[in-house]
Amino acid sequence: MKAIPVAGVGTLLLTHPWMAFSAPKLGPDPHFFVQIYFEGGMDPSYLFDARPLAMTQAGKIANYLGEEPAAWTDAAGRTTWATSLTDPLKPYRDRFTILNGVVMTAAFDGHEQNANYLFAGDPFGGEAFVPHLNAGSGRRPVDALQAGSIGATLTNVGGIVPMGPSAAESLAKRLREYPIQSGDPVFDFVKGRLAANGRGPGRFSSASRAMLSGLEGAPALAAMVREISNLDPAATPDRQFVGLMLDFFKQGVTPSAIIRFQLSSVLDTHAPSDAKKQPALNRQIVEKIALVLKSLSETPYDGQRNFLDVTTFMISSEFGRTFRQIGKPIDDTGTDHNPLCQTVLIGGKGIKNGMVIGASDFQSTDETLSPTHAMLDAESIRAMGRPFDHRQFTTRPDLPATYKPSDYLNLASVVNTLYRLYNKPDTLHRTYGRNEPTAPVLNGLLS
């Protein structure tokens, strides 16, 4: 889906009788979802899956940050190595869990294939999982608010709305200055015609039904949106969008948001000159994550809770990166794609936060790698997720001889865990691939 990066929604003042609804209550158990996506392939070694400088000195991994990582340990004593770039996230360390060594598609290392795998569970595309979270009772008018375009082939994105600040502002102005005056009879008549045209078996009828469903929700939507507070014109676009997202959440417009943040340079750092910008890029990444978490945590939901208490979030890229490129000096190398290992941050409502789960291999120069790793990474320039025991919820020490996706912590399991968390039917659960078994839910992640 190529969504349009456009602007956001402000206040809509609609004075129709049919639009004068009060916002429906969100209920006692609201549950929002935010997916933050950094496109291009984040390098986990600059954040929560770092490597010691000794490995750089041995020519194994490029490190343009040039510092020794520090231990990041959870309450159970599980440790990962994190760089100082993660410091702005320390205040929130009890609000998210780190999943290291997450495997995407072992068979494809292209952007689109892995983006498709992330969003739809299939390298060739399909239905995105985020709209599924809005299905069923309590459905909101909009499946998700989106910022930024996403390079994936998705088929069920009709309910995902790409809105940004300027579009919202212009619409808000329009409706404040020129409130719509139209009678109930016209609205009912239009609905009646949509219903009448929606009785047939074909595509036109199907679309009429969809129009009817949309129009029926439009007054409530307008009433919800009408209550949205004005966006701060002095704020950065990111901050404006997050503010818009929260307003949409508050008013029940949508339960979800997909945010693809723009960075100052590409994350796809094949070129050495781009790879050297990794420290700056990852600072930006952390700033943006912190912005979202701060906004969620500082925005009250009700008297007792803030929005971080009622929101689950997931932060990832479409894959990780290699340690280096062959034939390049270690201090002047780019990095390539690595779908065998990335870090996913998951947290918020319903998640056991503060944990470090999973791990990647190749943590030292002399580590013995599994035969599977050797087969999938003949040049020894990649980390791979360590085998994972889904029942014990811990990494395994063995070194598998052949590749079986079920031996590893896979992104499919992360999404299935979200499906379980949001009480979605198991029929939606992802498999590891064509003719492969269903990926298990990470029950150890659920609180």
Partner: protein
């Protein structure tokens, strides 16, 4: 008797005779069809779909929007006289409008996957995407070209190389304070002269410093203030980028900047040659000022055969630098993205993975042991080789020992190209081409480079069929079932008419047929229903239209009512025991098998790499037909398993 009916009868007779004679073990092929060189009689058109006067008016307005690039009937245009005409006559009238050229251009861009929202900007000028796709533009311009001339060929859409279709000049952007307030044309020439002056200075520098490297010269030039003026003169930026990259023009300087290059005759001579080649551009700019050259319709477009005039090895191609934005060749995809584009856009091949066998002489590395990878790579990798010399920004790197990708990664070009080298006994240098089948290598076509690829595309039957398919999608709508036989028929007629009357009349007739189709007229279309069938086909008991023709062509020689090999009849679609629709399929004891078993068997036999089981047995099945049947069988299986009534027509 219609041509389709007679052809069908001949084909069926052949099948029947050979089936009886051989027990369906021999390969069965319909007889080759040689078009009769008839006099240009009225082309056979489908009968008009009966409709009320109200619906006919709707049809006319919709048709007008299709044929006039979005402009429907204006008030007063729907006259009694127009209404009295036949659909064919109405279409002819609308096609005589100059706006039909825009419609064809819009379709061409749709065919290439580049359709914009609007061809024109608010001021009425064509948008950049039009100028950046010379094949789409040139092909549309064929409508207005003099018949018999090279430009009067719609199939220029399939050509790689084109003249430069000159985009009208826009306002120059100069950062030089001295240019402020001066007329645009004057500023433009001043900027170009400044550019030439920078080259003069570079020539002087090169003469005084004979050991200077190309890299240093390039950096001096491109980072100089005048060095960037080239792109801000108001000429077509895409063209100016290409000019700067073209070999024998300024490509040497760009190569020296990004890779390694030293001209054989030395830099001073090279720079003088560059300077000399820029002069015609200046002359063009002087000749086609904004006052003198405006393009309101496609008739107004002028062209410049820049490659011939400047004696360049590199032509202005459909793959100009603007394509680099969409089709980056990265160090991870190795031009497979470009190959995938060609396969999807020109062959309608979405690379849906169906297992293929991995014969020994294609086996390389992992692919030999991974049939599931091979199922896409067997087509993709050889196609990607056509771009083996096309690097960053679509630049031709034939002269460079270094290959630079769009992600700025550089590799040794010989090493990069090595994987496309053919086996010594193959009789060819490169394993580059269009691979139709790994089991039937005689079906494959090999070439060396992009020129070869597009020479092949021009003749490829798959490309013609894809054109018809996209025409149907563009006119009727996407994701609409279409009978494969109907598509084949459209294609065959297009081919025949191209031979007899030329490609311009042929494409018009093809469009006309689709506009007169039932599918186009239907108000509430069902996606899985084929509204148009080949003539003479009896829909009674016919399998779902998506696959009926394909099964008939590839399977029913052995699996029909009269010859139920494997106790399976793929010629009839009947109600099964579970109430759903399916084929007649029985076990050894004559008991009907569940539908799901049949569909799974179909999938397995289409998908397997075991040559003793792969269907059709010992016969070639075009990959698009295999794919379509396979995908349909998967959906049918899914429906059968879920328990819904499957297989609506």
């Amino acid at each position: 008797m219609s041509r389709i009916a007679s052809r069908t009868i001949i084909w069926v007779t052949w099948v029947g005779v050979l089936t009886l004679a051989s027990g369906c073990e021999k390969a069965v092929r319909p007889p080759n069809r040689i078009p009769a060189l008839e006099s240009p009689a009225a082309a056979e058109l489908p009968p008009e779909v009966p409709m009320s006067e109200w619906d006919k008016k709707r049809w006319i307005d919709r048709t007008a929007r299709k044929l006039r690039a979005g402009t429907g009937l204006k008030p007063g245009e729907l006259t009694v006289e127009l209404l009295a005409l036949s659909q064919s006559q109405i279409i002819d009238r609308l096609m005589n409008d100059d706006r039909f050229g825009d419609a064809v251009l819009d379709f061409n861009l749709y065919f290439l996957g580049l359709k914009p929202d609007s061809l024109r900007s608010r001021d009425g000028s064509f948008t950049y995407v039009v100028w950046d796709t010379p094949n789409a533009l040139g092909s549309a311009m064929s409508l207005f070209a003099k018949p018999g001339t090279p430009g009067a060929d719609y199939l220029n859409l399939f050509d790689l190389k084109h003249p430069y279709y000159i985009r009208p000049l826009t306002r120059p952007r100069s950062e030089n304070a001295e240019d402020a307030g001066k007329p645009d044309d004057e500023v433009r020439i001043t900027m170009l002269n400044r550019y030439q002056n920078e080259i003069d200075e570079l020539i002087t520098y090169a003469e005084r410093n004979p050991t200077v490297t190309g890299g240093e010269l390039a950096r001096r030039f491109f980072l100089s203030p005048g060095g960037s003026d080239w792109f801000y003169t108001g000429m077509d930026v895409g063209f100016m980028i290409w000019a700067q990259q073209a070999r024998d023009w300024m490509g040497s300087l760009v190569l020296a900047f990004y890779a390694e290059f030293t001209p054989s005759h030395g830099w001073p001579a090279e720079l003088r040659a560059i300077r000399a080649r820029n002069e015609p551009v200046i002359a063009l700019v002087k000749r086609l000022t904004a006052e003198k050259y405006a393009v309101r319709t496609l008739r107004d477009v002028q062209s410049w055969d820049v490659a011939r005039e400047l004696q360049l090895r590199d032509g202005w191609t459909m793959f100009n630098p603007i394509y680099a934005q969409h089709l980056a060749g990265s160090s991870t995809n190795f031009n497979r993205k470009r190959a995938a584009f060609v396969l999807k856009r020109f062959f309608c091949d979405d690379l849906i993975p169906i297992n293929v066998s991995a014969p020994a002489d294609h086996a390389r590395g992992r692919h030999a042991s991974e049939p599931s990878c091979q199922s896409c790579h067997y087509k993709l990798d050889p196609m990607a080789g056509a771009f083996r010399n096309i690097g960053f920004n679509m630049m031709n790197l034939s002269d460079s020992p270094v290959f630079t990708f769009d992600d700025k990664v550089k590799v040794n070009k010989a090493a990069f190209q090595q994987s496309w080298l053919a086996q010594p006994r193959s009789g060819r240098t490169w394993d580059i081409g269009y691979v139709r089948s790994t089991d039937h290598p005689d079906r494959n076509v090999y070439f060396d480079d992009l020129d070869g690829l597009f020479a092949f595309i021009r003749k490829a039957p798959e490309a013609r069929r894809c054109l018809m398919r996209r025409m149907f999608e563009y006119t009727v709508g996407e994701n609409q079932a279409v009978d494969a036989g109907y598509l084949d028929d459209l294609t065959e007629r297009f081919n025949d008419e191209t031979l007899i009357r030329g490609s311009v009349p042929a494409i018009k007739l093809a469009m006309k047929r689709v506009l007169m189709s039932r599918a186009f007229s239907e108000r509430d279309r069902q996606s899985d229903r084929c509204y148009d069938l080949p003539a003479g086909v009896n829909p009674q008991d016919r399998p779902p239209c998506r696959v009926a023709y394909l099964l008939d062509k590839n399977c029913t020689a052995c699996h029909s009512s009269s010859s139920m090999k494997g106790n399976l009849d793929l010629s009839r679609w009947v109600k099964n025991a579970d109430g759903g629709m399916g084929f007649v399929h029985m076990d050894g004891n004559g008991n009907p098998l569940p539908r799901a078993v049949t569909f799974q068997a179909l999938i397995d036999r289409l998908d397997t790499t075991d040559e003793t089981a792969r269907m059709p047995l010992n016969r070639y099945m075009p990959s698009h037909e295999r794919t379509e049947t396979y995908v349909w069988a998967q959906e049918a299986l899914r429906q059968a398993v879920v328990g819904r009534r499957g297989g609506r027509r």
